[in-house]
């Protein structure tokens, strides 16, 4: 597997990245998000599918959409998704042979 989903981010990934970046660099944004996710996410003109990925803690979906991995990681820790839950979601995407050089 490659280290990266995209060698240049898509606009979709950029929009997701922007939400995660703001959430974890502005305390007011994170507080507003924690108080009412839907209302907070409505501030962005995100397609509903993308908003649902963030609001639903869809770690696997966000990874596949090409969210920057450091923003995804910060988000998992920052909104307290349990470590084993986020790891399991990511590992569910492991394909046959992805770990061949690790054996």
């Amino acid at each position: 597997m490659s280290n990266w989903r995209h060698m240049m981010p898509t606009t979709e990934a950029y929009l997701l990245d922007k939400v995660l970046y703001r959430l974890h660099h502005n305390a007011e944004d994170l507080a507003a998000y924690n108080a009412d996710k839907d209302a907070y996410l409505a501030r962005y003109a995100l397609p509903p599918r993308l908003a649902a990925m963030i609001g639903g803690n869809d770690v696997a979906g966000l990874y596949e959409a090409g969210v920057n991995p450091y923003l995804l990681r910060a988000h998992c820790i920052g909104v307290r998704i349990p470590e084993d839950v986020s790891l399991a979601a990511l590992r569910s995407l492991m394909k046959e042979g992805d770990d061949k050089w690790l054996k």
Partner: protein
Amino acid sequence: MAEVTGIYTASHTPVMLNFPDRIPPALRAEIFGAYEAMGRDFEAGRPDVLIVLSNDHLHNFFLNNFPALCIGVADSYESPIEHWLKAKRRTFAGDQALGAFLLQEALEAEFDPAFSMEMVLDHGSLTPLELAGLDPDLPIVPILFNCVQPPMPTMRRCHRFGRFLGQALRRYQGVERIAILATGGISHDIATPRMGMVNRDFDETLLALMEAGDHERTIDYATANVHTAGNGAEEIRMWMAAMGAAGDLPFRRTYYRAVNDWYTGIGIGRFTRHGDAHG
């Protein structure tokens, strides 16, 4: 003319501070001991200033404006920027004059770094300094490479920048002694399906090539194989830069262990003359 008193390479990961208990206490003590030993070695060289080669993990820079390379020219740097990092806040003194010198020299040498007069450093700079127990008043100049969002500068370009850096530092007349810490890597994956599966073979090969002193083969190996070692392994760009800065000084690893439960191949090393106490 400044003396470069030591050039070190060391991994960094927030997991060390956030989830220390995910590994057994004896292993944790061994790793923390290796960082402390690096810190003592640093201090033996009595540096006046420390160059920190590291990377920003999308905190100071975002995709609306992301520099390939950025030289810090602030007179102080707060840290950490992560609200979720379990570290006490601290402020590093910045060596603004040295930062400005390097910026100007880099431009003269036809590198085109960005510069920043205000950055809040993240775990990538804070963690190794904290674990090494370095004098909190030692001034620093952070130089941050993009290793976190493609497209990124090539391994070779980072090595070339390091070569420039080593030469420029040795010409500098503002202080007597300068140390360099290059931090990041080695094998690790952040938020991917491979997270927690360290590629030990990659790490061992990279360290062996560096110890053999063959810069060209090391750069070629890093370029061709980094995709097998994880997105976090892209941070070996700073190791390439350290190698460039070291020139013909030999490299020796001082610690390595693949720590799957900390998601990282933890490597520490230094470029030193044989038998030299502090390089």
